[in-house]
Amino acid sequence: MSIFVDSNTKVIYQGLTGSQGRYYGLLNRDYGTQVVGGTNPKKAGEDVDGIPIFANCAEAVEATGATASCIFIPAPGVYSAVMDAAAGGIKFIVCITEGVPAHDEATFYNELKAQHPDVQLLGPNCPGIISPGQCNIGITAGHIAKAGGPVGIVSRSGTLTYQALYELQQKDIGVTTCVGIGGDPVPGTSFIDCLAAFEADPETQAVMMIGEIGGSAEEEAADFIKNHMTKPVSSYIAGVTAPPGKKMGHAGAIVSGGKGTADAKMEALRDAGVKVGLNPTEAGELMAEIVSSL
């Protein structure tokens, strides 16, 4: 089992004809993902290495039965791409693009909620999602993840997600699904969405959560873990020593007005019974201990 995507998930790549879209779309297909189409209004009827291109998501869904999409459209076009996917019948939208204005994110988040409440958006500015051995949507290197569980991963950072997958693989620990929710101020999918899905997934027996400075998503997740989760969680928070008022690479990674510090987040997580590592390696070791005692 897995959450959100599995071997049956059919995916449309919005922007498959661009260099990034083509590169990762074909890599994802090589991994085994069902890449059934792409969209580009100017190139409808053509194909990318045998993958048919449609004018929009509605036509792509009609022809292929796809339920998921992956967006590799430059930032100015992301708002339209998200709404095109939702209007076209896509139920799970993964947006890899970084550099999307925060106002656009807040707007399409709320429009989706009002007009398409059954649609789940992942990202923007995220590495995507992988259910190892079944489906890889996005830019994660599939071979660094061991399939099968019992661990689920949710993370705000790309490279730290890869690091976590790799450390677990080195310890011969499998992963059900690894979700990168991204480092922007308004992520479509939250830690809590993923924690709730992992709690409900019978194959997932423990969860690793990787957060970073900025906002209060980790504190809200800690509250959820305390009150609604029975499965053990280990965590790591990046940016303990980040200076206040500076964006640390990610648009959302900023300590402002004394809010959003790593210390406050770690404290909230510890209070919720989460095992918190002080660096990625330690978080991996803590997860190995959890897994060995399952």
């Binding site: 106002h103 071979h143 790309g158 490279t159 730290l160 998503a217 940016g239 200076p243």
Partner: protein
């Protein structure tokens, strides 16, 4: 929005000329990218042109929280009956815009929030819907402003919301919003933070960005398009990915060292980017050792290793370099690096080992 007449001045003479054109009394205000100007002596009342000369002389060159004043704003002084506060920002938890209005203006809103939170009237605005006049009216009614200020305040917050949305701002803040003795609502000072991701639809923002105070290192990194934040320590940090770079800075601190910077070179880690990053770090005189922390994902270890070697051939580096290379084809990458290793180029198997080595070398060089 109703604002005071004023002019920008870069020199004392320009300030005096501006005051003569505007007519005294005027305010002499430091223009810097930071708060707390008043407390630091950066905002002064000038009754006469002689006062303007004196204040401009004192304020130009003044250091306010590390920002040197190079620009003044000279504006006609206003009579004030009451001071209010109004702002819009994005509430990340609620995923909606948040408006805050308070009858206690003129001080920092964080102070009001801590000491008297009930004095702040809040409104959440759904970005997909926008701010209606009815909602704005109810919000202003809840703020307990002087009744004669209400209509003017509603006008101002409606316009403030428009400018916040049309300008793709992270924050728009009016502080103080004043009521004058003749019952006008007037904007006396404001702070705006713009979203750098929105530059594609606001080309003029690039110009604003150039006025950002950056130290020499940050300027050089910015010119190369690198994600760099200057810190105070002696261990230069290069990592691929924002999370890993933050984590690297943390680990250097954890093992007792002080990082000189945060630097994210992105996923690819090719020779060009690596060479640029090394140049920026090498130009920092405080750097005594350099920690390169790369995790290969899609980019394979051998590509990363070749990139590092090529970059080192192009740039002469003074400080010793410690590399930690892990992830996809890490073994192949390490094999490529092996013959190049010497007392200036070292490799460690884990992030913690590499951090310890980098800190030890930096401390040795300082001693």
């Amino acid at each position: 929005m109703p604002v005071s007449d004023g002019e920008v001045a870069f020199t004392v003479q320009e300030a005096v000329d501006a005051a003569e054109r505007l007519g005294t009394p005027v305010m002499v205000k430091a223009q810097v990218h930071t708060g707390g100007r008043g407390k630091a002596g950066g905002v002064k009342f000038a009754a006469t042109v002689e006062d303007v000369q004196e204040h401009a002389t004192n304020i130009l060159g003044l250091d306010i929280n590390g920002h040197i004043v190079q620009r003044l704003w000279i504006e006609k002084a206003s009579d004030i009956s009451e001071e209010y506060y109004a702002s819009f920002t994005l509430d990340r938890s609620a995923k909606q815009h948040l408006g805050m209005l308070s009858a206690e203006g003129g001080v920092e809103i964080e102070t009001v929030a801590a000491e008297n939170p009930d004095a702040i009237s809040k409104i959440h605005v759904n970005p997909a819907v926008g701010l209606t006049r009815e909602a704005a009216q109810a919000w202003v009614d809840g703020a307990n402003l002087n009744p004669v200020a209400v209509e003017g305040a509603v006008d101002v917050v409606m316009k403030l919301y428009d400018s916040y949305v049309q300008g793709d701002a992270d924050l728009v803040e009016i502080n103080p919003l004043i009521l004058t003795p003749d019952n006008r609502v007037h904007v006396l000072d404001a702070k705006v933070t713009l979203d750098s991701n929105s530059v594609f639809r606001h080309e003029d923002y690039t110009e604003f960005d150039e006025t950002q105070p950056r130290d020499e290192r940050e300027e050089a990194a910015h010119a190369k398009g690198l994600q760099y934040v200057g810190l105070e320590g002696s261990v230069g940090v290069i990592a691929n990915g924002a999370g890993l770079a933050m984590s690297t800075v943390d680990v250097v601190n954890q093992v007792g060292g002080k990082p000189a910077n945060f630097l994210d070179i992105g996923g690819g880690a090719n020779a060009d980017v690596m060479a640029g990053a090394l140049e920026v770090i090498n130009n920092d005189p405080e750097v005594k050792s350099i920690f390169i922390n790369i995790f290969g994902g899609i980019t394979r270890g051998e590509e990363v290793a070749n990139g590092i070697i090529e970059a080192l051939n192009r740039v002469d580096i003074d400080a010793p370099i410690i590399i930690r290379l892990d992830g996809t084809n890490a073994d192949e990458g390490r094999e490529i690096l092996q013959p190049a290793l010497n007392e200036k180029l070292m490799m460690e198997p884990t992030m913690l080992d590499a951090a310890r080595k980098a800190v030890e070398l930096a401390k040795g060089a300082e001693a």
